[in-house]
Amino acid sequence: MTTKADSVNTYSIDYCKTKKGFEAKLKKRQKLDMNKIKQEFTVIADAGIALVIEIDNEEIIIQEYGSCLFKTCKDEEKAKEITQKIFKIGVKDD
């Protein structure tokens, strides 16, 4: 059985399809709890199925189905740290 802790730590991070920026994806596709993410982070825009949030001076687009697109962050290590923060909040409890 996969636990929440497993899910939070099981993601891939790479350049998105057009190589514009980093994209982190949960390996096991699952819906994130967007309401919890909204409560925890500064929301710039809310489209329901996607959010634009700001963390540590970086803008990130979060898609409901477990992906984070980094609009501004060009540092992979920082992107990983932020991804962990988002998934820790957004991955639903088992």
């Binding site: 710039i44 825009a45 809310d46 489209a47 329901g48 199925i49 996607a50 803008e59 687009i61």
Partner: protein, 205 residues
């Protein structure tokens, strides 16, 4: 001289559509719809560069990120692309009427995006009165790519940009008008158009 307004994205197809119409001695200006903050400034910047490349002199920029988020929040997601197009065309038609453009031009093409079907186009057409020109509707993708390379827009169009994050994974391919009109009852289209027109910018190139 006849004037037409091109719906210009940062992609491969729309600049080619504009280029082909310009070849017919029609004056072409463009409108770019920006979905910021659900993307960054890149698509807008690419559109400006593409417009320069095909010698367009005026580019309107309409920021509709907030309006698009209303579509995803309030309407059935599978209809997103049809609703988005109907909204963009209505805004473009308002601008066309104000500035005497007789036609809208799109880069729609039947061999590419799954939502660009004849059925969906028929429903989208019903949102406006202005005539829509689709000069590359039946092109093979390669035909368009070859022309883009020839006129020097390909590398610009292929440049990196964030993909659309608001579209559904399985969009409707056979939308019916009454379903779309039912979805549009959930949103305030007039207000959305007015908001978009209020923030409209025109860039002289």
């Amino acid at each position: 001289m006849t004037k037409a307004l091109l719906l210009l994205s940062g992609g491969i197809d729309s600049p080619i559509a504009g280029y082909l119409i310009k070849q017919r001695n029609i004056e072409v200006d463009a409108i770019h719809f920006s979905s910021e903050p659900f993307t960054d400034k890149t698509p807008e910047n690419k559109s400006i560069e593409l417009a320069k490349k095909i010698q367009i002199k005026n580019v309107f920029v309409s920021k509709i990120g907030e309006e698009l988020s209303q579509l995803t929040k309030k309407c059935e997601h599978k209809y997103y692309y049809v609703l988005q197009r109907r909204l963009m065309w209505r805004i473009a038609e308002k601008i066309a009427n104000k500035h005497n453009y007789e036609f809208l031009i799109t880069g729609e093409n039947l061999s590419q995006v799954s939502s660009q079907t004849l059925e969906n186009m028929k429903v989208t057409d019903k949102s406006v009165d202005i005539t829509i020109l689709r000069p590359i509707l039946c092109n093979d993708k390669q035909e368009t790519i070859d022309l883009a390379k020839k006129i020097g827009t390909y590398d610009l169009s292929k440049g990196p940009e964030f993909c659309c994050v608001l579209g559904p994974q399985s969009p409707a391919t056979k939308a019916r008008l009454h379903d779309i009109e039912r979805e549009e009852e959930k949103i305030n289209i007039k207000e959305m158009i007015n908001n978009a027109l209020e923030t409209l910018e025109c860039k002289k190139l």
